[in-house]
């Protein structure tokens, strides 16, 4: 393969997109361009609602929402330009990406994130993934799930973990505490969508744990960041549990506010059952706040098997929250450094480079 290949990226969203998948795609493609692993990247997104700055060596075409319109645009764009590598940012798009790779004689990279890749997909998607030269997974759990339904050499399925924005650093949270009026409270924090269909982030598990935590002597306040259709149910749950005054829904907030909130929280807790990885764990710990999650799925990776954060079973969540709140907050600088060491952008870029080298050399 060309040692400085051109890449065509078929993605749901990347630059200007929301959520974990867009974030990962963005991080991955930027890292590829930054380390000089590819000569150029053309991104064709399905959506790009936010404004964004175009990095060097990357161009992103206007978003095409409709499936058919998108497919035609992707084929037209790919067919008349040199393409050495096709990056597929979502399993649902793998059949189209595989077709383009086949037509162009290009190598195919398929990205697997989380829940979309856990159950066995359609035959077409499975066949497309099995034709990939490289499958990248954000966690060991997602990799194991892919290998449970795909017949592909396991050596072609690598883990390139999520990374964390450099902006998340430790700092003084006292002003934010004052603004929120929680100076003398113990603050629990969850950041995540409140999806009314999936309901896996676990805010409900934290709400139902609050009476126990209070009974253990902690004057606790639970801050919930994020939006979604499940909010009303969670509010009702808090009322039923008699802890409405201790639960505050902050909705979606900007990056700077998010950083401030991470810094001032005493414990980030996200007892989610459905994390492909769980970037929010990294963001919290990079901001110097200890993190607690369930010992399941991708959260294990983000919490580094308990070496960075704490990973427990669902039943242990109330006791563990109370125990962690009883301890002094660990050294934020040391925690942030440990997170950057394992999951920082330099480490991520090196991982991306290594993965691409494996592809270029032939596995």
């Amino acid at each position: 393969m060309n040692p400085s290949p051109t890449m065509f990226a078929v993605v749901t969203d990347a630059l200007g997109g929301h959520g974990g998948i867009a974030q990962y795609n963005r991080d991955f493609l930027r890292a590829l361009a930054d380390v000089g692993a590819v000569s150029s990247i053309t991104i064709l997104p399905r959506q790009a609602p936010d404004v964004f700055v175009m990095p060097e060596r990357i161009r992103q075409t206007p978003a095409r929402r409709g499936r058919i319109v998108y497919s035609i645009a992707a084929l037209r764009r790919a067919l008349f330009r040199p393409v050495d590598l096709v990056f597929c940012g979502h399993l649902f798009m793998a059949p189209l990406a595989a077709l383009i790779a086949r037509l162009k004689g290009a190598k195919l990279i398929v990205q697997a994130h989380g829940v979309e890749a856990w159950p066995r997909p359609s035959r077409l998607q499975r066949a497309a993934l099995e034709s990939a030269d490289l499958v990248l997974c954000v966690s060991r759990y997602t990799r194991a799930a892919v290998l449970s339904w795909a017949t592909i050499a396991p050596e072609r399925v690598l883990v390139v973990s999520n990374t964390v924005e450099k902006a998340f650093t430790p700092g003084d949270g006292s002003t934010t505490r004052a603004v929120l009026g929680v100076e003398n409270k113990r603050v629990l924090l969850t950041v995540g969508r409140m999806d009314s269909r999936q309901r896996y982030k676990g805010q409900d598990r934290v709400i139902t744990a609050i009476p126990y935590i209070v009974a253990q002597g902690h004057d606790v306040e639970y801050l919930v960041v994020g939006e979604g259709g499940d909010r009303a149910r969670l509010e009702a749950l808090a009322r039923d549990a008699g802890v409405s005054e201790r639960v505050r829904f902050l909705g979606a907030i900007g990056l700077q506010s998010l950083i401030e909130i991470y810094r001032m929280a005493d414990l980030f807790v996200m007892p989610s059952t459905g994390e492909g990885f769980g970037i929010a764990f990294l963001e919290a710990m990079a901001s110097g706040t200890p993190a607690l999650g369930l010992d399941v799925a991708g959260a294990r990776d983000a919490l580094a098997d308990g070496e960075l954060g704490t990973a427990v079973s669902e039943a242990e969540i109330p006791v563990t929250i109370a125990r962690l709140l009883a301890q002094p907050k660990p050294d934020p600088g040391a925690l942030a450094a440990a997170v950057q060491g394992r999951f920082g952008r330099e480490t991520f870029a090196a991982g991306v480079r290594t993965a691409l080298n494996r592809l270029i050399e032939g596995t």
Partner: protein, 620 residues
Amino acid sequence: MCGINGIVAYHSASSAPEEAELLATRDAMRARGPDGSGAWWSADRHCGLGHRRLSIIDLSERASQPMTSDDGRFVVVFNGEIYNYPQLRTELETDGARFRTTSDTEALLHLYARHGAEMVHRLRGMFAFAIWDQARRGLFLARDPYGIKPLYTANDGWTFRFASQVKALLAGGHISRDPEPAGIVGFHLFGSVPEPFTLYRDIRALPAGHTQWVDAAGPREPKPFSNLAEVLAKGATNPAPAAEIPERVRVGVLDSVRAHLLADVEVGIFLSAGVDSGALLGCMRDAGQRAIRAITLAFEEFRGTSEDEAPLAARTCEFYGAHHVVRRLSKQEFFEDLPAILEAMDQPSIDGVNTWFVSKVAKEAGLKVALSGLGGDELLGGYPSFLDLPRWRRQFGLFAAVPGFGLLARTLIGAVAPGFSHARPKVLGLLEHSSSWAGSYLLRRGLFLPHELPEIMDPDIAREGLRRLKPLRRLAASLMPDPSSDVARVCVLESAHYMRNQLLRDADWVGMAHSLEIRVPLVDFTLLRALAPAIPALTPGAGKAALAKAPTVPLPDEIVTRAKTGFNVPTGEWMNAAIGGGSDSVGDALEAKGLVSRRWSRAVLNGMASASAQPQVHAS
């Protein structure tokens, strides 16, 4: 024989492995290496290697493993024997290498330092080893061409692990026991789990004749360095006349036996009344070994009957002046040992019982090493398959080649005469599978046929397992490049599947359980290369006749003649009794044997599963 293991936390996010895990895996292989143990960690503790030692060459402490090169760059753990070690050492010393031991392990370090991965082409022997390269921060693994020594790996995306046994990897406590449908289906098809699969999705065998490199991106795909079919195909390009067969066999086998006697401890031999082990015994004598102890397993049931091998084996011993150790096995002892057999069985197998007991006797006799005639039938055309497969292809291949014909015949006969279909599934299979070598071989060695699987196990697992295993494609791939003759094709199929996945694996775990190294001079790549030009010219019986004449003093005619008719062992009946006897009404002895094997296979799988309370293999 030894036990090796290691852990490499290669991913930038992975934590350093725990010492307890390395030692738990290592010490689950205590029987493989009762003479000593060692462990080594890299400075950052992201790579750990473990070893359990059965001392055979250079018994001193200085030859302990893991062994580090003088400059500290390379660290090796090794299971097996390098039979051309003396020649390699001479070459290496001429090249400036300085040895501090007389162990073949040290030669691996020098060879890797000089030749890198290409070193494997210089090795004659049975081996599975791993070398950690501190400078490149990578791990090099290799396994011998026939797959005599085992090597299993597991990769979770952050951490790579390896060990000589599947159960040892599980004992480390960090590997998922999620079932591998291809392994389960493969076991039902063949009676052993076909590599690279195991019963567990996350554990795979490094295939025979492959190397593997593990670095910061994890393990690369295993890379082949030898291929049985290729050796035979190459041999066929320069064919030797049939008249040359006896001399080629004589020279090649004597050379192999001589090489396999390399040891600093006594080497004994498993002796039956057959040609293979008898000829090996004669060649041991020709190779200069004076005191030879030969171990024969006999059966109480057959005492005084024509089925008793002991008298004829005694005659062979007397003939070659060996000391004969005969042990008579009773049904009671079989039943007493059965739980231990299932416990020691690393992966399910429908065989290995006879080897268990002969190994037990060898251990009781104080032997650490024994030669076995295993492989003679594969190399020299001794199995009925060498006649059956070509015949089936001639007689039924054309019918089976008609698309849908076999399926139609099976469906019709199944409707009209279901009893026949049930009792003789393979007869019907002829019309479905005999158009290809792979299909014919599946018929010959198959316990169950693919279409029967959904009836005996979870249909979803059966379907998924067949999809992942691709049994016919896998069998056909082993015949690439085409070995060019019928004899050579069957030789490859038997050697690369039945012998590799069943006989050699059984010899390993059974020998291991008794801290006994079983050496197989007839499974030797140098010997195969020497015989390859002559193999296409082998006619029925010619190979074994040549082998009988390999010793300077050939095996007596009475032994050769008697051996042709074969011997029975009562273990099949005992197995049948152990699983509660059979109620199947079957036509002939061959079919009966097949049906017992079928039931036995399921009993073994369930026995292993319940012994460990894992895995959920879903056999009904």
